[in-house]
């Protein structure tokens, strides 16, 4: 068992464990297997929950155990929770059980990789003890999520506008 400070080597390319779909008590055996495989590679781990559409507290407990196991093996561990992740996931991690979610989170694989390069403190490295800090973190995710949704809507509108203009030009060209 290894604990204490550890700085993952910069050359350690992380193993990305992508979780998708609805996850609950019935998913745990499969998740444990995949985590064991990831640990077997001996590299830092990024768990990407961006395609996960639903999760229960059992899945949070799984992530907490995984973070603890990674720490004991001296491996970096970050959960990637994109701003665009399902609202159930965001609420579960950030609002409903933030005191349970004792692992580092990042909004993207790029930020997650950067976090992995930072030293991991011993004991409870990811714990944000202060209630206010948790609230602020939840607000950051909520606002960024809204911003991403707005930007996506804007992109759709711009595309539609462009198509309409192209159709108008095509009609004008045909009638000229």
């Amino acid at each position: 068992m290894r604990a204490g400070n550890s700085t993952p080597k910069q050359s350690d390319r992380p193993t990305v464990l992508r979780l998708a779909g609805e996850l609950d008590l019935g998913s745990l055996d499969g998740l444990e297997l995949r985590l064991d495989e990831a640990f077997g590679l001996g590299r830092p781990i990024l768990v990407d929950v961006g395609d996960c559409t639903f999760a229960t507290v059992d899945v949070l407990h799984f992530l907490v155990r995984a973070a603890r196991d990674a720490r004991e093996r001296g491996l970096g561990f970050v959960v990637v929770l994109p701003y665009s992740a399902s609202s159930v996931l965001r609420r579960l991690v950030l609002e409903l059980a933030p005191d349970l979610a004792e692992f580092r989170i990042a909004p993207s694989l790029r930020v997650g990789s950067a976090l992995l390069a930072r030293p991991v403190r011993s004991a409870a490295p990811a714990r944000v003890d202060d209630v206010r800090l948790r609230e602020l973190r939840a607000m950051v995710w909520e606002n960024a999520s809204r911003l991403e949704a707005l930007l996506a809507s804007r992109d759709v509108l711009l595309l539609e506008k462009r198509r309409t203009l192209e159709q108008v030009h095509a009609r004008r060209g045909a009638s000229a």
């Binding site: 609950d24 008590l25 639903f54 229960t56 507290v57 407990h61 609202s87 159930v88 579960l92 059980a97």
Partner: protein
């Protein structure tokens, strides 16, 4: 006082796979009642946590009994009942403080939560949700 309608009554084995089956069955009812996404998410999460608790704790291990899921609808209120005939829940374990995070979440999300439990007849969790929230 309005009339309560039973929208769903389902008995499943108390095994991990039943968590998803119960959630999906209740979600169909909630969709038909045209509840908002937020309420639907809350109900799905609470049902999942409650059924998970039955699977884990009611019978001393998975696959040793059954879990009953009942959904009732009255006006703007949806009541979801999760019932087992297991070994009951100790009084000290019924509050969110003593119980696990699953119970904490149910207490946060449900408008009302009533727990009836005895070692002879098992446990009934009755959760009420406001559909118009």
């Amino acid at each position: 006082m309005g009339v309560s309608t039973t929208e769903l009554q389902l008995v499943l084995p108390a095994v991990p796979a039943s968590v998803r089956r119960a959630r999906n069955a209740v979600a169909e009812v909630v969709d038909e009642l045209a509840a908002g996404d937020r309420v639907a998410d809350d109900v799905r999460l609470c049902v999942s946590e409650a059924v998970s608790n039955v699977v884990r704790h009611a019978y001393g291990g998975p696959g040793r009994g059954e879990v009953e899921i009942v959904v009732e609808h009255e006006g703007s209120e949806l009541a979801v009942v999760i019932r087992d005939s297991g070994r009951g829940m100790a009084r000290s374990a019924r509050s969110a403080k003593a119980g696990g995070f699953g119970m904490k979440i149910i207490e946060k999300l449900a408008r009302r939560l009533t727990i009836t439990s005895s070692a002879r007849s098992g446990t009934e969790l009755r959760m009420a949700f406001d559909l118009e929230r």
